[in-house]
């Protein structure tokens, strides 16, 4: 199996799907001549030409809406959101048109649209450029919400996204683009709604996705030194959510810690926690713990930024609390 960076895994999926399917077109800001802010689309303009690799003006509402119209006509547009922070400018298009038009037309159209780009905090990008948008979009029926944590997932999930009938919110993580990993060759796809047991264990379930997966795995290795055998569940997609894998894991471990980068209130971890309570209440030996970003706009200063983001140590403490080896503190 070849080793690819997360960036090249995404780029390879785009190239292979564009070669396979002439209805695929790319749109976004500076994806062509400039080669893409994170170079995910490097060289694609010269390969596929300006009809298929469309440099757009800085008009998120305009080009996301245009891509929805293209998708309704049977093209397969893939929009690059330079960062997901800018998607707020297109929120109406995504929520009111992409997610709903099939429904309010009584099923007369498909919207095979992918919107992809970096989500979450980078390094010192401060408040307007460091947000995790997954809970906002995962709230909306009609959308698929996908968060690859590894190069292999990036390729396999993007391929699936580009072959479906529904709008997909494809949330890459800016901090992962340089990460390398083995990626299967050939026509490799990963299904939506199937979580991965990234590490089997018996004592506590750590639930993670996107960049938080590597933190959870690192924390699990350190917990092992303390004699705590943590299982790590990598969700991969929030919509659809693999409730079964989640609940089966909790049924084995009887304890859960949910980890997310976003703000704590009304977030993904709250939904996962409620899902566990609804589906595995009798299995729980401790309250579900949440490890989250701080409930503040992202500060610029590096020391404050690190305080605002979940760290390995936070996961360790939460796991110990779930095992009653450390006192609870009021959040």
């Amino acid at each position: 199996m070849p080793e690819l960076s997360y960036r090249d895994a995404i780029r390879t999926a785009l190239i292979e799907e564009m070669e396979r399917d002439p209805s695929v077109v790319l749109l976004g800001e500076d994806i062509g001549l400039y080669q893409g802010t994170f170079r995910v689309t490097a060289d694609l303009l010269s390969r596929f030409g300006p009809r298929r690799v469309i440099d757009t003006p800085i008009s998120e509402e305009g080009f996301v809406g245009a891509a929805i119209g293209m998708a309704m006509l049977g093209l397969r547009p893939v929009v690059e959101m330079m960062t997901w922070n800018f998607s707020l400018l297109a929120f109406d298009q995504i929520v009111n048109n992409a997610a709903k038009v099939r429904y309010f037309s009584g099923g007369q159209v498909d919207v095979p649209l992918v919107i992809r780009g970096p989500n979450g905090a980078g390094v010192q990008l401060s408040a307007q450029h460091s947000q995790s948008v997954e809970a906002w979009y995962a709230h909306v029926p009609g959308l698929r919400v996908v968060l690859p944590a590894t190069p292999a997932e990036a390729k396999g999930l993007l391929r699936t996204a580009m072959r479906g009938k529904d709008p997909v919110i494809f949330l890459e993580h800016a901090a992962l683009y340089g990460v390398k990993g083995e990626v299967p060759d050939g026509d490799y796809t990963l299904p939506f709604g199937v979580a991965e047991i990234a590490r089997p264990g018996r004592d506590v379930t750590l639930v993670a996705f996107s960049r938080m997966l590597s933190l959870a795995l690192a924390a699990a290795r350190r917990l092992a030194d303390e004699g705590i055998d943590a299982e790590v569940v990598n969700l991969r997609t929030l919509r659809p959510l693999d409730r079964r894998t989640l609940l089966e894991s909790v049924a084995r471990t009887h304890r859960a810690v949910v980890i997310q980068e976003q703000w704590r209130p009304f977030g993904v971890a709250a939904e996962i926690s409620a899902t566990i309570m609804e589906g595995a209440f009798d299995q729980l030996d401790a309250p579900v713990e949440r490890v989250t970003g701080a409930d503040v706009p992202m500060p610029y200063a590096r020391n404050l930024e690190l305080l605002a983001l979940p760290q390995e140590d936070d996961i360790l403490r939460a796991a110990r609390r779930a095992l009653y080896r450390e006192d609870r503190v009021d959040a």
Binding site: G65, L73, S105, G106, D166
Partner: protein, 352 residues
């Protein structure tokens, strides 16, 4: 209800049908215009039926009728080819009917019945008839404009010479959802990749706010120059005028793949919506003055002058229209509501 077949995509200087001298001007396609007069009358009676049904509590939510504006949509839809497509906003009943949607299915949608165009799941603001190229009615002002621009790109990307029509109101021109895609349309048109006809149905009011109170520039057509899109302002109360302008615009866009915009000066005789009872933003005199240029009466005038309509024929069309509207309401009322299993259908294309 059959829609008269679109004649052809004539060039500006080629009348698409035999010209008939009326004494006022040469009017092509007048024989065909009799059929469009009939459709406009049916639509007028249909809208009156919807207002009655709303008052009876049979139609819920919002209801925006097209009364007074009929010639605007009719003139353009008369010139569309069967394989052309269009988008519009929420004042969309007439567009569906003019394109040939079954009045029973339109009314059933408004009544929230499973026999409706969208199985009762869209309502008045979200009529769709994709099989006829009608890609929807949309409820967020301006929100459908980028869709139409992208759809136009897709038409040309796939090859062929279809065009996309995008109807919008004067109020939508002040939304960001207008400016961003129109700039893109101007750009894409430079490569012949944006065959869209933008039709501003300027009925003088965005809800209750007049054009003069909402747009710094009252000449709305002139605002398209900002995006290098040629434009024209026309009288939207005269079907023949609208249709001739539509023919020129559609032919131009079909040939060039570049956008073209028309500001169609029209007027809604009804309130903004069914809840707009008192209309404090205009006077009864304003409405009465506008009604003196009723688009149906104007077209009748042309057709009478050409000897194609008389009192007896008009009476028979009126009777037929009333019957079609009443039958649509009866059909809608007797249709079943969507079964409970419709609730979760059509959220996704593939069930997960």
């Amino acid at each position: 209800m059959p829609v008269p077949p679109s004649k052809r995509s004539g060039r500006n200087d080629e009348p698409a049908g035999p010209a008939v001298a009326t004494g006022r001007r040469n009017i092509p396609d007048l024989a065909d215009a009799v059929a469009w007069h009939r459709l406009m009358v049916i639509t007028r009676r249909f809208e009156e039926e919807t207002e009655r049904a709303f008052r009876r509590g049979k139609i819920g939510g919002y209801l925006h009728v097209y009364t007074g504006q009929e010639a605007a949509a009719a003139g353009f839809l008369a010139e569309m080819r069967p394989d052309d497509i269009f988008f519009t906003a929420y004042r969309d009943h007439a567009h569906a009917l003019f394109r040939g949607a079954d009045p029973n299915a339109v009314m059933a949608e408004l009544f929230g019945k499973v026999t409706g165009l969208a199985r009762g799941k869209g309502g008045s603001m979200h009529l769709f008839d994709v099989a006829r190229g009608f890609y929807g009615g949309y409820g967020i002002v301006g929100g459908h404009i980028p869709l139409a621009i992208g759809a136009a790109y897709a038409l040309r990307y796939r090859g062929g010479d279809q065009v996309c029509l995008c109807f919008l109101g004067d109020g939508a021109m002040n939304s960001g959802a207008f400016h961003e895609p129109l700039n893109m349309a101007g750009l894409w048109g430079q490569g012949g990749l944006c065959p869209v006809v933008v039709i501003v149905e300027n009925n003088e009011f965005a809800m209750g706010t007049s054009v003069g109170r909402s747009s710094a520039v009252i000449d709305l057509a002139s605002r398209f120059a900002q995006y290098a899109i040629p434009s024209e302002r026309i009288d939207g109360m005269d079907f023949v005028t609208v249709r001739q302008a539509a023919r020129r615009a559609i032919a131009d866009v079909r040939t060039t793949g570049r956008p073209f915009a028309l500001e169609v000066a029209t007027y809604r005789f009804a309130g903004h919506g069914a809840a707009d009872l008192f209309q404090p933003y205009r006077s009864k005199d304003d409405i009465d003055a506008a009604r003196r240029r009723d688009p149906i009466r104007i077209l009748e005038g042309h057709l009478r002058a050409a000897g194609l309509l008389d009192d007896a024929r008009i009476a028979s069309i009126e009777a037929e229209a009333a019957q079609i509207a009443a039958e649509a309401a009866r059909f809608a009322e007797e249709s079943p509501p969507p079964p409970p299993e419709e609730l979760h259908r059509h959220v996704y294309g593939e069930e997960s």
